[in-house]
Assembly symmetry: C2
Homo-oligomer: 300 residues x 2
């Protein structure tokens, strides 16, 4: 199978109660493809400016991420997001968003990416997500993610994309906002009515609920004593989830449940350090160890 | 085995987005003993005024709750709490607290309650909790609950009781407040250092974490599409938890995990209607059915 991830590759400036980092590499596509790389060899589509560190592209490649779809725009400046977290890691405050090269990005999918089995439209402008959908040859599975910014500014474009995907990832507040329903389960059912056959409702430190047409699966977040930087946890969850499905080659309910557990496990690592640093030392052995711990956490 | 529950039996006036009820019967002792009654025959210790409806005492007795420890104070008025919930069932706002007969309550444990195997000090004034501890003969297990009001107004009395109990129940915000730690796991470990061998950290709609000296167990709340009244969910969780342990007659890690699942299951019923009304129609068969559903919810 093959997994194509379209998302942002960006600079993040982050403040948390445990420190701050200026212009470190982040972005939905970065987190997602690194997380997926522990299960499969994802292909990434994104754009960066010429200020983007070649070292990070080399790191992606060292993790077997196919970066031929990563356009480096000469003279351009990389997308930059600045945000702050308080003691509650579930509450994120955006300080600044500089779109830069994403302002006039027209994604172009490399020819041999077009027959992807799984296409993930990570969090970017829904108009771009739609443009990408037009370039691929019927993937077996299309998933998307979004954030409140697009729900507020481009709800119609977002709904158009939503109708064309199989899996919708978003956090609980966003799903409630999009459906105007205060109850998460009812809100999730409304998403299913709009098109997707699966909705993954991420609840940060409280885990996630996965709602299908005929089942509901609840997964806890691995409790963490030292959340250093919550950025990218949701993107890493999606990356682990889809990377696992790509490795499995199937989308049965059982595989989806396991995918959500792997998503939760991999997200529990990334928050232990700033940016994507935790992925530098992470091993498959670590993941297997935490999966065992997770089984003990929830077994009765 | 035998389970003695000391808590409040009260009138609650409740406003939720789904309706309001004036002076319906509630109280930590009421919810807890009714929840426990599906597993064992709990004995209750509390005080009410002569305005308390005999019908409710008859209901408790019909559920096999031993009410000989329920004092009816002639001329007294029953404790009255008034509160409001918004769309987030995890956020409770207290409008009014009239202690009435609880103002000068000096609990007296009936002679044949004193050899209880399990004693539960449900949420009441920590000074009263301490007074009760002095009247019992070394129960095999002592548990307590509390709320933010006592953490703010009587932290020292609370810490004195905490040192003498085996299980501490509280919600996540209260545990963070009491330990002055923003991280729930670290906060829970601080509670263990203060005396208890188990801390049950209730997270409302997000479930609960049970932290022992050598294990951590996470249990989800059963997702509910129609939360009518969240009052008493935490007390019912504790009642189901301790009622199950009392029925088991043991406190192994395995039994504790199962107890937490039963606590979560029974709490998921009580919120479906105002006050304790859901307990009127609830059956053991319903509980067994939801336990099966819960297993499906979390299995992978």
């Amino acid at each position: 199978m093959s997994l194509v991830i379209v998302g942002s590759v960006a600079f993040d400036s982050i403040e948390t109660p445990w420190g701050r980092r200026d212009r470190i590499v982040g972005g939905s596509g970065t987190y997602c493809s690194l997380a997926a790389s522990f299960f499969t060899r994802p292909k990434i589509v994104a754009v960066v400016g010429e200020d983007f560190p070649p070292e990070m592209i080399a790191f992606l490649q060292s993790r077997q991420v196919d970066t031929r779809g990563l356009e480096v725009r000469p003279g351009g400046k990389t997308f930059h997001w600045a945000g702050r977290y308080d003691y509650d890691p579930n509450v994120r405050q955006t300080i600044k968003t500089e779109l830069n090269v994403f302002q006039d990005f027209r994604p172009k999918i490399p020819a041999d990416y077009r027959s992807a089995d799984i296409l993930f439209l990570a969090n970017i402008d829904p108009d771009l997500q739609e443009m990408i959908l037009e370039q691929v040859n019927k993937p077996r599975l299309v998933a998307m993610d979004t954030i409140n910014y697009w729900i507020e500014t481009k709800p119609e474009a977002l709904m158009r994309v939503l109708r064309k995907v199989d899996i919708f990832f978003a956090n609980d507040q966003e799903i409630k906002m999009l459906t105007r329903d205060v109850n998460l389960i009812r809100a999730g059912k409304k998403i299913l009515e709009a098109g997707p056959s699966l909705v993954v409702m991420k609840k940060g430190e409280h885990g996630a609920l996965v709602l299908g047409r005929d089942f509901l699966f609840g997964v806890l977040a691995n409790p963490c004593e030292d959340v250093v930087d919550p950025t990218g946890a949701g993107d890493s969850f999606a990356g682990g989830f889809l990377g696992y499905l790509d490795r499995c080659g199937g989308f049965s309910q059982r595989q989806i449940r396991k995918a959500a557990v792997y998503g939760s496990v991999i997200a529990s690592f990334v928050i232990e350090d700033f940016g994507v640093d935790r992925f530098r030392s992470l091993t498959r052995r670590d993941i297997a160890g935490r999966l065992r711990r997770f089984k003990k956490l929830v077994s009765f």
